[in-house]
């Protein structure tokens, strides 16, 4: 038994193997109750790779049973990763035949390129990027291959112009996130998608060469994901941020140029600061120093708040996104899609058009009163 609380221990597991991190593990095996709790949380947070690495070198002392359970849990996670890698190769083959360019995002690319051993980084779905102009074709290819779309498009053409990604389900229960950019609006609309198609970084999976984003764009994606996609931020995305920054492959100056061009510097700084504080990283590098000093301007701070504040609704994010959309006609198309979704979308959501509008209005008014309360 130890005095460490569960959250600290989970954080220490997530930080295991990270150069410069200072989150100590324990000196002796946990008791059954604490172990069972830890194992459940490790599985939920997809930290099986870090746990196995910590147990394998006795950084986390384990009883025979705990070691066995770690091995089983890790092997199950790796079996999922291998099945997803096979799916990834199948998608790449389909897209290649259809002449659709593709980049692998997050999970498999981080595991193969940014961790010394891909067995340390578990993942639970497939994320791929295609150019906006190929998005509809890519959906058609995957539908023809037996995937099915979970949520209909808001309006025809909306995904290609404005969406971050859409999700397709595969018959064996896995999911494919088909991206055209890296973040939800408003941040996603600030990203210059041409920057995502710089020469990709190759890695080999099952003898097939796949392409990931270049190191700088990969790091920016890790930051967006860590800072924006969950509140509170999750440990594995924060570990990715620390891992990619400390690995030092990405050119920090190029990272900052892109972050600035995409209007995402506040999110990037927040992700790096959070990763450093969560894992007690003592190493000072160019990006960590920059993140510590960074002060977002008023518009950036508002955008970040809209994106991350608990309880913020999609409608509020959508309104904030308008400032990132250039041109009256494009703004109008965006608003038209939000206000008048196609019937299939509403039917799937189980609401009529009137109820949809009322929900959006309540959401926006809720946002205003929230701001007033905190003014």
């Amino acid at each position: 038994m130890t005095g460490r609380n569960g959250a600290d221990l989970l954080r220490a597991v997530a930080a295991h193997g990270l150069a410069g991190a200072d989150v100590p593990l324990v000196d002796e095996p946990l008791d059954d109750e604490a172990w069972n709790r830890l194992l459940a949380r490790v599985t939920a947070e997809r930290l099986q790779g870090q746990l196995a690495a910590a147990v394998s070198v006795d950084a986390l002392p384990a009883t025979h049973r705990q070691r066995e359970e770690t091995a089983q849990t890790h092997a199950a996670a790796m079996a999922t990763c291998l099945a997803l890698d096979r799916l990834l190769c199948d998608i790449d083959e389909e897209f290649e035949a259809a002449h659709i360019p593709m980049r692998v995002l997050k999970g498999s690319s981080f595991a193969h390129l940014d961790y010394g051993d891909p067995a340390v980084r578990a993942y639970g779905d497939v994320d791929v990027l295609v150019p906006s102009k190929h998005l509809e074709q890519a959906v058609a290819v995957l539908l023809a291959a037996g995937c099915h779309r979970q949520v209909p498009e808001l309006r025809p053409g909306f995904d290609r112009r404005f969406a971050k990604s859409l999700t397709l389900a595969v018959s064996d229960g896995y999911e494919i996130d088909l991206h055209r950019t890296l973040a939800l609006e408003p941040f996603g609309l600030g990203i210059d998608t041409d920057d995502l198609w710089d020469a990709g970084e190759p890695f080999v999976v099952g003898g097939r060469t796949l392409l990931a984003l270049p190191a700088e764009q990969r790091l920016l994606h890790a930051c967006y994901h860590a800072a924006l996609d969950n509140n509170p931020p999750r440990l594995l995305p924060l570990r990715d941020v620390a891992q990619l920054v400390l690995e030092g492959v990405a050119d920090p100056d190029r990272v900052l140029v892109l972050a600035d061009r995409w209007g995402g510097a506040a999110a990037v700084a927040q992700a790096i600061q959070l990763a450093w504080s969560t894992f007690g990283v003592s190493d000072v590098v160019h990006l960590s120093e920059w993140a510590k000093r960074y002060r977002p301007g008023p518009k950036e701070a508002r955008t970040l708040l809209v994106h991350t504040a608990i309880g913020r609704r999609h409608a509020q994010k959508a309104m904030a996104a308008l400032s990132f959309i250039n041109g009256v006609e494009t703004k109008a198309a965006y608003l038209r899609a939000l206000l008048f979704p196609q019937r299939e979308f509403l039917r799937q959501r189980g609401v009529g058009h009137g109820a949809w509008l009322r929900q959006g209005t309540r959401s926006l008014l809720g946002g205003r009163s929230h701001r007033r309360r905190h003014a």
């Binding site: 091995a71 790796m78 003898g207």
Partner: protein, 88 residues
């Protein structure tokens, strides 16, 4: 160079005390223990059965006759699963 070698398109990961291997057409992965993973590491390049047995026995500090049968059985299982093949 002839010998037993990993099949083209096989996917695998290191595991705690072993390896997880997913052959190209298999529905389920194979979970190898530590000796199995040692053989798997070797088969990145072609190895004849006798050479593999000698190499692994030497590494483990045991008599080659003690491990030869086990390695032959494991190779046969991996071959049946489509994880390895013999390169003539």
């Amino acid at each position: 160079v002839s010998g037993w070698v990993r099949a083209s398109g096989v996917l695998w990961r290191n595991a705690l005390d072993g390896a997880v291997v997913l052959p190209p057409d298999a529905a389920e992965p194979l979970v190898l223990n530590a000796p199995g993973a040692a053989l798997w590491a070797l088969l990145e390049e072609p190895y004849e059965l006798d050479d593999a047995a000698t190499t692994l026995a030497t590494a483990a500090g045991v008599d080659v006759n003690r491990v030869a049968n086990d390695i032959a059985t494991l190779l046969r299982d991996l071959n049946d699963a489509g994880a390895v093949g013999y390169q003539p």
